[in-house]
Symmetry: C2
Subunit: 220 residues, 2 copies
Amino acid sequence: MSEKTQLAASARSNRKVESKEEKPRVRLSQQAIVATAADLFARKGFGATSLDDIGEALGVTKGALYYHIKNKEEILKLIFMTVLAVSEEPLRQIVRSEASPAEKLNRAIAHHAAVAADRSPAMTVFYREDVHLTGPFAREIAARKKAYERLFEGIIEEGIRTGQFRQDIDPKIAAFGILGMCNWLSEWYRPGRAYNPQQIAAFFSRLAESGLVRPENSPL
Amino acid sequence: MSEKTQLAASARSNRKVESKEEKPRVRLSQQAIVATAADLFARKGFGATSLDDIGEALGVTKGALYYHIKNKEEILKLIFMTVLAVSEEPLRQIVRSEASPAEKLNRAIAHHAAVAADRSPAMTVFYREDVHLTGPFAREIAARKKAYERLFEGIIEEGIRTGQFRQDIDPKIAAFGILGMCNWLSEWYRPGRAYNPQQIAAFFSRLAESGLVRPENSPL
DNA sequence: TGAAAATTCTACCGCCTGTTCAAATGCACC
DNA sequence: GGTGCATTTGAACAGGCGGTAGAATTTTCA
């Protein structure tokens, strides 16, 4: 499906030195493979992305990939590890901090939204392609995902306990709602649009805190 | 791989009527194929689910499937069509109704959450496997998805215009937030748990309307 | 420069997949 | 009971996939 445009492009620039496809000038490495693969997996899906595709995107044959990685699933594993690496510890620090529950929630939303937006390809893979993980690693990821959700839940529980949040809410459902709001970012957010991740996160915080309805006595 | 057990079973029960594996007693049909496939696609992914898998789940050889469907992608298309069939029209009716923006939003959230929860396998496929659609159909789905989002956006815009909703919010981001909250349901909701879809929807409505924070003057 | 180490290429294998099709089977109805 | 249509089977196929191994190349560094 891209052959035609490829043909047209090379016909137009046939006397140039050698541009054609923009091969990345970065040296091949596990990290480069993982980054490129995350991009392709997010766009075409894990199953529909071949090692040939990844190699081609890196300007290399697929054989070369095997010097840096064990197999295809390991690439997927590494993507999951990077997402967790940038997600877990910052959130734990927020939970451990001395801030009020509302402030903790603010920071947690800002953190999570920033991750979902900034690492959007890896994040998309994280939530779409988990079905392709197998064995103990799949279980480990599921467990850490659940633990991450529990941290959000804990913040909300704390807010209810201290009376800062309303009593008529279920912490688990509220946590899933807020996480869903943020996770969905990786489906629609594209950099360079009207708002940056921080602004979106700030807005989500406001939504989670106070909702949409204008208080009766508030000024227009 | 199942030939041995098959042999053993038929040897054991050679005088019985014929029980063996629990083959679904429903007659093969396009609808049955789509329902079964949605389940498998949601659990293992479109690419990792073979037509053999689908056939086996239906107690039929994969060749039989081709009497009812054109090819594998058509199954995926039909799943997308069913989701849209139960989603679009009810939401349009809500938008067209005479209710207030807040009430419209309530109903829209209830509707969308119910779809996400009740049709969870199809909904999971709808949001995870869209990358496997190609050609004009892929574009059509993308357009209708966007139109659906716009309906939510419109409700919020109306609320802002009439002064019922706060002025300091962006309708588009609010719509994405609420949709994300609901869509995420298909990732975690399982029937028969503590809450049913209606209760969850009611809670999401409250969250979107008023947020988590307890108003200063509200009773504990 | 030259040899050793690191990296990539080429060619190939076995397996599985979606799809097709003629033949076999089941089934409704005269 | 038998005829004709609807449905399913089973085998075959071409293509693409992940993965491997040794040859070929590039890089490193004494």
